[in-house]
Amino acid sequence: MTEFVTVDTRVDGALSGERPSDNLTEEQLLDMYWSMLISRRVDERAWILHRQGRIAFHISGIGHEACQVAAAYAINRGVDYIHPYYRDLALVLALGVTPAQFMVSLFGKEGEYSSGGRQMPSHFSAKWLNLLSMSSPVATQVPQAAGLAFAIKYKIEQGMQDPDDESLPRLALTSLGEGSTSQGEWHEGLNWAGVHSLPFVCLVQNNIYAISVPMEQQMAVKNVADRAPAYGMHGVIVDGNDVLACYDVMVDAAQRAYNLDGATLIEAKTYRPVPHSSDDDDRSYREREEVEAWKKKDPILKYQNALLERGILTDELLEEYNARAKETVDEAMRIAEETPWPDPAPHLHPNSVYAPNGLDWKG
């Protein structure tokens, strides 16, 4: 049985000892910046497309880029399992889904990467990246991610997997919003992770609202991570708008998982400066001042300034990145527009419903 873990409050920046992020190369630091930036630009374009009436729906990751990109870089990208949620655009792009693939999904065009256009946009899935398939009912991914983590431990214990083999998944990371932790699914998933001490990381992106419902009507604790002890899990609170702080705690959690040393609950404190989705109007439930105040803490701005200060980013480089981002997004749009609409027939055929007999699925 795992001992209780007291909650670590890195949100105040009170980091002691060596920080894993200190070991990131300049190239890596810039890669992370690029990942945040391109996600933001793709996301902004999606809002524009919606305003233009060219797409029916968008749900945004704006404001959440830091913790997501940190997560992608802290694990074994494309190998470890990720069971994400709808706001994880920066995470899945950092993982390897392309802007063009995402753009095609906004329209639901032919060959859409995640579901063949069957699912709404931002319902990610990419087997080739070990990115699991999302549904809409919140928190369902959490106990499933515990199941993925269970399988990892099972294979190691049954001698089916070398614990040090980096070509195989060694942890399961799942993410969700703070509101979604009210679901029984979350409780039951974390309970398994704790009881079996699974290589499992739960990243709660706490933006203090579930659509319109604020934290205090959602739970009677100040921090989601305060619940970690209830599951014998390590609990950490981190500034979700500080990509390097997020990276530090993610690396820590990943190491713990790789060592089969226990599961971790990370609460990244952040904010959603845009409406919940293109169907939402957030003026009914929050003050503009609050939104504006948070916009000043924008994770990209924050990181950009830090990198400029450290001389890693320069004004020229910044310009180049912005130009490259625009090009990338334009190109993605072009591809999406040129992609034809799907033929409905195969999507309504019984063969689409069941995996074929005899398929020996290996995961």
Binding site: A56, F57, G108, K109, E112, S115, G116, G117, R118, Q119, M120, P121, H123, S135, S136, P137, V138, G179, S180, S182, Q183, G184, E185, A210, I211, S212, V213, Q217, Q218, M219, D279, D280, S284, Y285, W341, P342, D343, P344, A345, H347, L348, P350, S352, V353
Partner: protein
């Protein structure tokens, strides 16, 4: 009478019932300041306060369970499930608890509550914002299930639901929320009884059974085939799916001998199966053709991509075609 949209009629019903009875309260996700994601509860928190319009945690089983507990304690909860697709976490509370409470306690503990849930496809919602859930709950004795097709019925049936001493599931066609308009009495407290089917249109050639937006589409299709082909359909709006008005169902069939059942849910084990079963037993001697069903195909959900969604959904054109086929049998 005034022209109202379906959702306006629903909002009005809640408003009037809250004004009438202090025991009535609303809970669900975003029902408070946000007024619900479809705006059905818009303004109610200002009128009745946060004590009676309660934003719940994001946790459906608790929304229903709080409702059950409060109902047993004498309140009249209206529980809103944001999309019917998210009702599954609460199935244990609905099926094993709300539905069975009165029976299992030999009548000691009634559960007078309403569960409202927007259902159905055609709005680009993909697998998880398009589901029809009536078939599963129609298999659960102890529940009442209502699916209105027009504003007049919606308001009158919802008021009946609030006053019913049993758990009533009230499924609202979200595609029809603003699409379907109709006359609603300007003021005056009317109800529509839970139970009897409603004949939307009389006809002798064949009977089409439907509910919710499919009843609306069916009526359109029936008008069209009458105009274009001289086929006179009787359109029976089932309205109350549980308990089923078997006599009402049979009455029309005895006249026409031919039946088409339309629903947007998956075909297999959809609600139309029960109608077919009733007709092919009690109505056998009147059968004058195969009992036909027009429904969604048996794939796990309504796909998002526009052309696939359109191919999935029944619509007036497909209904008209099915009517012509059956009439020609």
């Amino acid at each position: 009478m005034a022209m109202k949209t379906l959702i306006e009629a629903i909002s009005e019903a809640m408003d009037e019932e809250m004004a009438r009875d202090e025991r009535v309260f609303i809970t669900g996700e975003d029902v408070g300041p946000r007024g619900g994601v479809f705006r059905a509860t818009m303004g109610l928190i200002d009128k009745y306060g946060a004590g009676r319009v309660v934003d719940s945690p994001l946790a459906e089983l608790s929304i229903i369970a709080i409702g059950i507990g409060a109902a047993m304690a004498g309140l009249r909860p209206i529980c809103e499930i944001q999309f019917a697709d998210f009702i599954h976490p609460a199935m244990n509370q609905i099926i094993n608890e709300a539905a069975k409470m009165y029976y299992r306690s030999d009548g000691q503990w009634p559960v007078p509550m309403v569960i409202r849930a927007p259902y159905g496809g055609g709005i680009g919602g993909g697998l998880y914002h398009s589901q029809s859930l009536e078939a599963i709950f129609a298999h659960v004795p102890g529940l009442k299930i209502v699916v209105p097709s027009n504003p007049y019925d919606a308001k009158g049936l919802l008021k009946s639901a609030v006053r019913d001493p049993n758990p009533v599931m009230f499924f609202e066609t979200k595609k029809g929320y603003r699409l379907i308009k109709g006359e609603v009495p300007e003021d005056g407290d009317y109800t529509v009884p839970i139970g009897p089917v409603n004949v939307l249109r009389e006809g002798d050639d064949l009977t089409v059974y439907a509910y919710g937006i499919m009843a609306y589409y069916t009526w359109q299709a029936a008008e069209q085939v009458a105009d274009e082909d001289g086929i006179e359909c009787e359109v029976v709006d089932i309205r109350t799916l549980l308990p089923l008005d078997r006599e009402g169902i049979l009455e029309s069939f005895k006249k026409t001998g031919k039946a088409l059942i339309v629903y947007e849910d998956n075909l297999t084990m959809g609600y139309g199966a029960e109608i077919a079963a009733v007709l092919s037993d009690d109505g056998f001697e009147y059968m004058d053709g195969p009992i036909k069903r027009l429904a969604g195909p048996d794939v796990p959900g309504v796909p998002f991509s526009h052309p696939i969604q359109e191919a999935f959904m029944p619509n007036p054109k497909k209904i008209a075609a099915a009517i012509r086929d059956l009439a020609g049998y």
